[in-house]
């Protein structure tokens, strides 16, 4: 039976009358011009506000009246349950205050750029935990983040309930801008001795064994008359022997970053693929820290993996600490750092020879390496015509 809205909100009663007396009761109500509707079961539904009038109209009829139903009836029955009323009121206030706000921002798709950096950029554009959904425009946030982070090629902000899901794509190595049109020479990027030169297009201007300066033309894009004249885009492979050095100084006293104890920063449960957050410390993790995430899965007897898992994330803050090194520690640390620097210098070439030296000075230890490396020394330089 479909009830009227005013019956539901302002209360109604159901009158049960014996089947044999129902026609007489309805006739009384018809004569008294009182509105009534019967259900398919023969009950009469009346509004609560007119109960006394109905009682008067149905005098002489045997009937029973239900308690007050609807919202008004619920409130009357529970009028002494202050806790219930307070609870409903608190829930309404909480709902109104929180439903329109962003509870969480989840970033995915990033590899090189950290989540904290992206969240910081989103916060600058107005999207952060606690912000009102209506206070920012999602498309403007996307454009603003793309403008500030040219390393990103795409970003999308989606709202699902109270969570903002941010999906990003970074520029891949294939996204290299096309070469500018025009003609060019190949010049030397550093002072070096030419080891080998292979010309793909253009005219070689140096040969193996020559010493060249930085900026000197190695392959020319200007074609001589015997080759038809004109200009071309010079290209080729030129390897030169380059002198490189690496230097490290380690002080006797240093401030270093030390990892503190790890602390729990988030706890969630994944059930049938849906993740539910139980605990999360909000805020951008823009401090120096390690982030450790663990997932515990459970296996039932027989080796069957159960469809739920417990996910925990920890942060291990880094704090600065002052340390004083012994001589042995100084030498060890200095040479370890020097080795890392050497690797980065020779990473794009071939090491020919290296000479390493070190010594104590007044406030620490220094170490240095002088190296000869053979590597690609080409650099393109556009020919300005006219």
């Amino acid at each position: 039976m479909i009830l009227r809205l005013d019956y539901i909100f302002f209360g109604y009663r159901v009158i049960k009358i014996e089947e044999s007396e129902l026609p007489r009761a309805l006739t009384y109500l018809l004569g008294a011009r009182m509105q009534a509707r019967t259900s398919e079961g023969g009950e009469i539904v009346i509004p609560e506000r007119s109960l006394s009038k109905y009682r008067k109209a149905l005098r002489g009829i045997n009937y029973s009246v239900s308690e007050c139903l609807g919202v008004l009836g619920f409130l009357k029955r529970n009028r002494n349950r202050y806790g219930l009323a307070l609870g409903i009121l608190a829930l309404l206030v909480y709902y109104i205050l929180t439903i329109g706000r962003v509870w969480d921002v989840r970033v995915s798709g990033n590899e090189e750029i950290t989540t904290a950096q992206i969240k910081s950029a989103l916060a600058d554009s107005g999207l952060s935990e606690g912000a009102r959904w209506g206070s920012f425009s999602r498309s403007e946030v996307e454009m603003s983040v793309l403008k500030n982070y040219p390393e990103l090629s795409w970003i999308n902000v989606n709202r699902r309930g109270v969570v903002a899901y941010v999906d990003v794509r970074e520029m891949s190595g294939n996204d290299v801008p096309d070469k500018a049109p025009g003609f060019s020479n190949v010049v030397s990027a550093v002072d070096c001795v030419i080891e080998e030169i292979t010309v793909v297009s253009g005219v070689a201007k140096v040969s193996a064994g020559e010493t060249v300066k930085k900026g000197q033309i190695l392959i020319s894009g200007v074609l001589p008359a015997e080759l038809g004249g004109g200009f071309t885009r010079a290209s080729g492979i030129v390897k030169g022997r380059v002198s490189e050095s690496a230097y490290v100084k380690v002080g006797r006293e240093e401030e270093i970053l030390v990892s503190a104890e790890k602390e729990l920063s988030g706890l969630s449960v994944t059930i049938f693929g849906k993740t539910v957050n139980i605990l999360k410390k909000y805020g951008n993790l823009d401090m120096e820290c390690d982030i450790i995430e663990t997932t515990d899965k459970y296996v039932a007897y027989g080796g069957r993996v159960l469809p739920f898992s417990l996910n925990r994330s920890y942060i291990r803050k880094k704090v600065t600490e002052r340390v004083v090194y012994t001589d042995e520690q100084l030498v060890k640390i200095a040479h370890s750092r020097l080795a890392s620097m050497r690797l980065s210098v020779i990473s794009d070439g071939e090491l020919i020879s290296v000479r390493t030296d070190g010594g104590f000075d007044g406030d620490g230890y220094f170490a240095k390496s002088d190296m000869f490396v053979v590597k690609d020394v080409c650099e393109e330089k556009i020919i300005q015509i006219g």
């Binding site: 089947e19 129902l22 309805l26 018809l30 011009r33 398919e40 023969g42």
Partner: protein, 94 residues
């Protein structure tokens, strides 16, 4: 059978004289409504049969799952699956 409320309003000119009774009916194949004015009493009310008393005649309505709505202007609306509607009488009643 009149099928839509709009059609019902357009057909209101086909009412009988207001001193006796008036009747309007509408609905679909599964559920119909009959609105009667000029009813003075309900003689019988069961799920599959309703008997109404008018000033000069009686109304017999047969159907299933029927319910009655009484309005403050003494109009009666019967909702449900209505199979037949019969009007009996016509003698003057005092």
């Amino acid at each position: 059978m009149i099928n839509t409320k709009k059609q019902r309003e357009e057909k209101s000119g086909s009412r009988a004289p207001a001193s006796d009774f008036s009747l309007e009916a509408w609905g679909t194949g599964k559920r119909q409504s009959v609105l009667l004015e000029g009813v003075v009493g309900i003689k019988n009310f069961a799920k599959n049969e309703i008997e109404l008393k008018g000033k000069k005649c009686d109304f017999f309505i047969k159907g299933a799952e029927m319910s009655i709505i009484i309005y403050e202007n003494r109009a009666i609306e019967i909702k449900g699956r209505i199979y037949s509607f019969e009007l009996v009488g016509g003698e003057d009643r005092k």
